[in-house]
Amino acid sequence: MGEPAVRLQNLRKSFGALVVTDDLSLDVMPCELHAIIGPNGAGKTTLINQISGLIAPDSGTIQFDGRDITGLPVHVRAALGLARSFQVSSILPGFSVLENVALAVQSRAGSSYRVLGRATAEPGLNDPALAALADVGLAERAHMLAGELAHGEKRALELAIALAMQPKVLLLDEPMAGTGREETARLVGLLRRLKGRFSVVLVEHDMTAVFALADRVSVLLYGRILASGTPAAVRADPRVVAAYLGDEME
């Protein structure tokens, strides 16, 4: 299909004696929803942190859209089109829900050095922000303080912020962690609607969601990719079943 949207080559990361990412190579194709699964401690969040730039790998390269981003700081990667959500909700609690998303819209829109003009009154920022909020079902909460949202709503806000960035690649770190059944179903529906618009890297434990959404699945174990392929292929892979899926699927 051409150039991968994200290409990881021989990534290595250790914290002291603990090897968290062990010679990991992975391709994420454009517009595919690529799920990464694996037991806790497999190094999934560290991997996401390395791709988004919060942690620097010890060795190896990360390519985004054909360009080497391994040394680039977080904000440059984000500006290039790499958005992420956090496993533990990382929002701006003192801002309104709308303003959280408007900030993300603003990063795309540019002119952030504008020192005059009320940002909160700009329809150019607010309208796309409201649209993103409507997508995740938070439109009525737009003017609430983000810090006062319920847990599941904060996860949805995380997603809205990432979407408002109009990313080329969206890194989702356990978006359904701690959400109830209804909320999970809504998020799955949303992701299904977004499929094909851009690449999504989905780290998740919720197997039903993963197998319903993913175009391809990679299994991460002890910092290495154990298996990678279509959901059906991975599900049937005996190594994967033995190491991870055995109890999960029943």
């Binding site: 700081p73 904000h75 609690p93 408007a102 900030l103 993300a104």
Partner: protein, 329 residues
């Protein structure tokens, strides 16, 4: 969860519309010299000028402390640099504000840029300490400038002329010039905070990692804010030198920087009106109490402690709590 005196969102002040308080403040300030005509003497007018000059510095500091969560303990240095620009130029015979003012602004903004580049690489208490260090460096440099008075300071022959006119030498005219500068500073900072730029800086205070992952270079935005705050403090310094016709290293001492932080806090962090009120409250209390006893700081110290312990949100917080309670009763 960490709590603090600062309210990050301005609290609704009872039923009063948003612009009432600042309008009230500036109205009082505008009318002051007229009131002074009846009480006689220019003492009130020059006190008012002094309050407003420090208010400018406090508003600038509030940009950093209240909105950016950057606790700068070296802010007085920028005030002092602006003042020394006036003093040194004056000593060389350059006495027109059209030269002195831009130089004062440029010097303090430049120092803010150079020191900000280093300081903003740190956070938390390291940031506080390094801003303190740079403040001290300015202080010691000024103290060692023997040709310009060193420790004792430098007297300025007369206030700056403005395009040749001795405008500033009239106490009342000077007052209104300062008021104009304060108004301009206030409106500019207000606009800055509400702008796209201000949103990024406020966001970085809430969650800098998040703001970076949204695509903003937080460091650059903070540096820009730091330079702006430094330049505005330089404006205050320019006015201060003209007001007192004297410059001294004491203008840059860390105690002065501490007092500026107290002023910002007294009014209520993160609300520019509060910075003005805080400066007024601090200086007026100082004037009043030092008339009562030379040991007024023995009383003021514990008052500060009590404020920290019990009066969250500073004076504005107290006022709004009062308004809320009156509304309920």
């Amino acid at each position: 969860m960490r709590t603090s005196l600062a309210a990050s969102l301005p609290r609704p002040r009872g039923a009063l519309p948003a612009g009432t308080l600042p309008a009230g403040i500036f109205l009082v300030l505008a009318l002051l010299p007229i009131v002074a005509l009846f009480t006689g003497g220019s003492y009130l007018v020059s006190l008012g000028s002094r309050v407003m000059i420090f208010a400018i510095a406090a508003v600038a500091l509030d940009l950093l402390v209240g909105y950016g969560a950057l606790i700068s303990f070296g802010h007085a240095a920028f005030v002092g640099l602006g003042a020394y620009a006036v003093g040194i130029l004056s000593a060389y015979g350059i006495t027109d504000a059209l030269v002195s003012l831009p130089v004062a602004l440029a010097v303090s903004a430049a120092y803010a840029f150079l020191t900000g580049v280093v300081c903003l690489r740190t956070k938390g208490v390291y940031f506080i300490m390094i801003t303190l260090a740079f403040g001290q460096m300015a202080f010691f440099t000024a103290s060692s400038l023997a040709p310009f008075g060193g420790d004792d300071g430098l007297t300025i022959a007369a206030r700056n002329t403005v395009a040749g006119f001795a405008l500033l030498r009239n106490e009342r005219a000077f007052y209104y010039v300062v008021l104009f500068c304060l108004l301009g500073t206030y409106l500019f900072c207000r606009a800055l905070v509400a702008s796209r730029f201000g949103r990024v800086v406020r966001g970085a205070k809430e969650n800098p990692v998040r703001v970076a992952t949204i695509g903003f270079d937080v460091y650059r935005f903070q540096l820009a804010t730091y330079v702006i705050a430094g330049g505005l403090a330089g404006l205050a310094g320019f006015l201060l030198a003209n007001a007192t016709e004297f410059v001294s290293p004491a203008y840059m001492s860390w105690q002065r920087s501490g007092e500026l932080i107290v002023m910002v806090l007294l009014g209520g962090l993160g609300s520019l009106d509060g910075a003005i009120i805080g400066a007024a409250a601090y200086l007026l209390t100082e004037e009043w109490l030092s008339g009562v006893t030379e040991h007024w700081k023995v009383i003021f110290g514990p008052v500060l402690v009590l404020i920290v312990l019990f009066a969250r949100g500073g004076l504005l917080g107290l006022a709004s709590a009062l308004v809320r309670r009156l509304g309920r009763g």
